[in-house]
């Protein structure tokens, strides 16, 4: 692939770069000034920019690479068969996005991968912020199965305010009416490809390897990942860590409460 082409796509200083991951064109968004802060999105990915990222960009250079198969990640998931394949792809993504050694935040499935980066390559992550990460499974209190739901139930599982999820997923004017829904399904497939069927990647075994100071954030109305998992994660983390519960927020707390979640992350990584 040629050198990445950089294009400014919005007047508010948002830049979009394309990098090559395993032969798939992968989108990297970048906005703001100051020290770098990466963000890996959760279930559903980022079909569009969101206010939470603007809040981060007020103080930091926010860099948001797409994960394989998620919006902006093409069909990159389709060549990843094992957990190691996934970790190597995300590591390469962070490196090519310029995030090696930077602060890293993630939500849901993205938080799981952010934690993996810090566990497997401790020098890769300075400080870590995880919003309701996937990767663990407790038989006595299993997460909600996000892939066995009636379509009309999904918005209320993702966000405390389902309208926010619907707005995130609504087709924009001028978008391709066939490609758009397929891209949203693909995001769900990509998450399933790594986390099917239980969400259990045995991340719990690797949490002790994380040395980066780790902030855990959890929506108090998370209907996917029970908040009891936060205690479990805290117990397994060897490095410094803290837990903050976000009020009036669901599984994707950064969608429900962009200001509060951004403030916690900015404080932690300051």
């Amino acid at each position: 692939m040629n050198e990445p082409a950089t294009t400014t796509i919005q007047d508010a200083g948002l830049e979009e770069t394309i990098i090559d991951i395993n032969g798939f064109a992968t989108r990297v968004w970048r906005k703001g000034v100051g020290p770098k802060l990466g963000f890996l999105a959760g279930l559903g990915g980022l079909p569009r920019w969101m206010p939470f990222l603007d809040r981060l960009a007020e103080q930091r250079t926010v860099i948001v690479p797409s994960l394989p198969g998620f919006p902006g990640g093409d069909r990159g998931h389709s060549v990843l068969d094992t957990h190691l394949d996934w970790l190597l792809a995300v590591r390469e993504t962070l490196d090519k996005a310029g995030l090696a050694g930077a602060d890293l935040a993630g939500s849901s499935v993205g938080a799981s991968l952010a934690a993996e980066m810090a566990a497997v390559w401790p020098a890769q992550v300075r400080k870590l912020a995880l919003i309701a990460p996937f990767g663990l499974f407790d038989e006595k209190n299993p997460p909600t199965d996000p892939w066995a739901q009636r379509a009309d139930a999904v918005p209320g599982l993702m966000c405390a305010n389902p309208e926010i999820w619907k707005a995130m997923k609504a087709i924009p004017d001028g978008a391709n009416s066939i490609e758009w829904p397929i891209e949203q399904n693909r995001a769900s497939e990509a998450a399933a490809r790594i986390f099917w069927p239980l969400g259990n990647t045995r991340l719990e075994k690797r949490l002790k390897l994380i040395r980066a100071p780790t902030l855990l954030l959890w929506g108090n109305e998370d209907r996917i990942m029970p908040i009891s998992y936060a205690d479990r994660i805290c117990k397994a983390l060897a490095g410094p860590h803290d837990l903050r519960v976000i009020g009036c927020a669901g599984h994707l707390a950064e969608l429900d409460q962009p200001g509060a979640v951004a403030e916690e992350i900015l404080d932690w990584t300051a």
Partner: protein, 426 residues
């Protein structure tokens, strides 16, 4: 044409209020509804019925695979088929089939199918379904994003296991096996005929044509709903230069024969309403695991929905989504063609028309369905074989069925002694 007798093996005693009190007949159907001692009788009745169909002269008897399913009690159709191999002599045994991605290693399918082929003297038809979302992704936990590529790889492994004479190493993306060398080897060379049950995916049609496999559309919604799909299949065959040999295709149809149409209506209403009312009560949350439907098929579905005014009257893209709009009352069940009923003459005439209009040479008949008891099932089966079958035998006589089992000569086959239980006094 070939007339094949298919059994789903439905649990016949789901309660009257099953739909009101239970979310689904599939995946999470509650164990308290299953009475093993009643199921003992069901299994034995069902196997009697399959054997009876063989006696009546049907060309094949057919079984299939479902998991965690109240209307399909065959997690392992191979167990039933192996018994049928011993209790029948000339009828083809169609296992429709084994969901390849669910077997680890898939070599197991090559072995078990070879066993059935050898025991039966070469009468096996080997079906390879991908499997429904409920069976594969939910009940068996297979990753929907890998299901199709696992299926295709497993197919390649099974075919090599059947064809290659020497021990070989299989170095697949999902399966690695250092020493593949199945014993026994199938009687039919290079392997039993392969039939592929599938939905309306163009990729599946093209693959069947390329591999020279029979494509089967096993829908519960009858010939009217199947017409557009089979038209699509034949249009694709024509486009890629294949002939219209009707034996390239199989199709499933429910049938109830009586003395008259009204008689048949009265006889089969309860069983039909049991099937469409209780057995097809599937929770929509099991309908579409992400990645199960290929993106090409998704795109075709979205285009077709747009064309059909948001999908009015459209068939869903997976087994699960199709259940949502199903008719559950007998009048509509018959009206929509899910079940063909009538006197023998009326049924024969309709099936002749179905065979011709769908251009299907392998007609798989469900003559037992829902909670139909053994006696009525035998009546339906016998009346069909005596009075309907003779009127259909000549259909498609001009075509050769290249996809039918080639058994050993009858004279060479083992004699299977009739089963005679010892008397208690002996």
């Amino acid at each position: 044409m070939k007339l094949m007798w298919f059994h789903l093996m439905p649990y016949t005693e789901l309660p009257d209020d099953f739909r009101d009190k239970n979310p689904s007949v599939w995946v999470d159907i509650h164990s308290s509804l299953f009475d093993p001692k009643r199921a003992h009788h069901m299994y034995n009745d069902f196997m009697d019925e399959l054997e009876y169909a063989a006696e009546c002269g049907f060309d094949a008897i057919c079984v299939n695979e479902h998991h965690s399913n109240g209307y399909g009690l065959m997690p392992s159709p191979n167990l039933i088929a192996s018994s049928l191999a011993r209790r029948t002599t000339d009828t083809a045994i169609c296992v429709m089939g084994n969901s390849l991605a669910l077997y680890n290693p898939p070599t197991r399918v090559a072995e078990e199918f070879a066993m059935i082929d050898v025991i039966s003297g070469g009468r096996l038809i080997a079906g390879f379904p991908v499997g429904t979302p409920m069976d594969t992704c939910y009940a068996y936990g297979t990753n929907p994003s890998q299901l199709r590529s696992r299926y295709l790889e497993a197919h390649d492994l099974v075919i090599r296991a059947w064809r290659e004479k020497d021990t070989f190493a299989f170095n697949g993306r999902y399966n690695q096996q250092r020493y593949v060398n199945i014993w026994p080897r199938a009687i039919q060379r290079p392997h039993p005929p392969i039939w592929i049950p599938g939905g309306g995916s163009v990729e599946t049609w093209q693959w069947c044509a390329e591999m020279d496999y029979v494509y089967c559309y096993l829908s519960y919604y009858g010939y009217k709903a199947g017409q557009a799909l089979m038209d699509g299949f034949w249009a694709e065959m024509s486009r890629i230069g294949k002939d219209r040999n009707p034996y390239r295709a199989g199709f499933l149809q429910f049938v109830g024969v009586g003395e008259s149409r009204q008689h048949a209506y009265d006889l089969y209403s309860e069983a039909a309403e049991y099937f469409y009312g209780r057995c097809l009560h599937v929770d929509p949350r099991w309908a579409v695991p992400p990645g199960y439907v290929s993106e090409a098929t998704q795109a075709a579905g979205i285009k077709s929905q747009v064309q059909q005014a948001a999908g009015a009257g459209a068939i869903g893209s997976t087994t699960g989504t199709r259940f949502a709009g199903v008719a559950r009352e007998m009048e509509a069940i018959v009206d929509r063609g899910y079940v063909i009923i009538g006197s023998p003459d009326e049924v024969a005439e309709q099936l002749r028309e179905v065979a011709r209009s769908l251009n299907v040479g392998h007609l798989m008949l469900l003559l037992q369905f829902g909670n139909m008891g053994k006696q009525l099932c035998r009546y339906n089966t016998r009346l069909f074989s005596d009075a309907v079958m003779p009127k259909l035998k000549d259909v498609f006589g001009e075509w050769e069925d290249r996809w039918w089992p080639q058994p050993m000569d009858a004279a060479q086959r083992a004699e299977v002694p009739a089963f005679s239980p010892r008397l208690a006094a002996e």
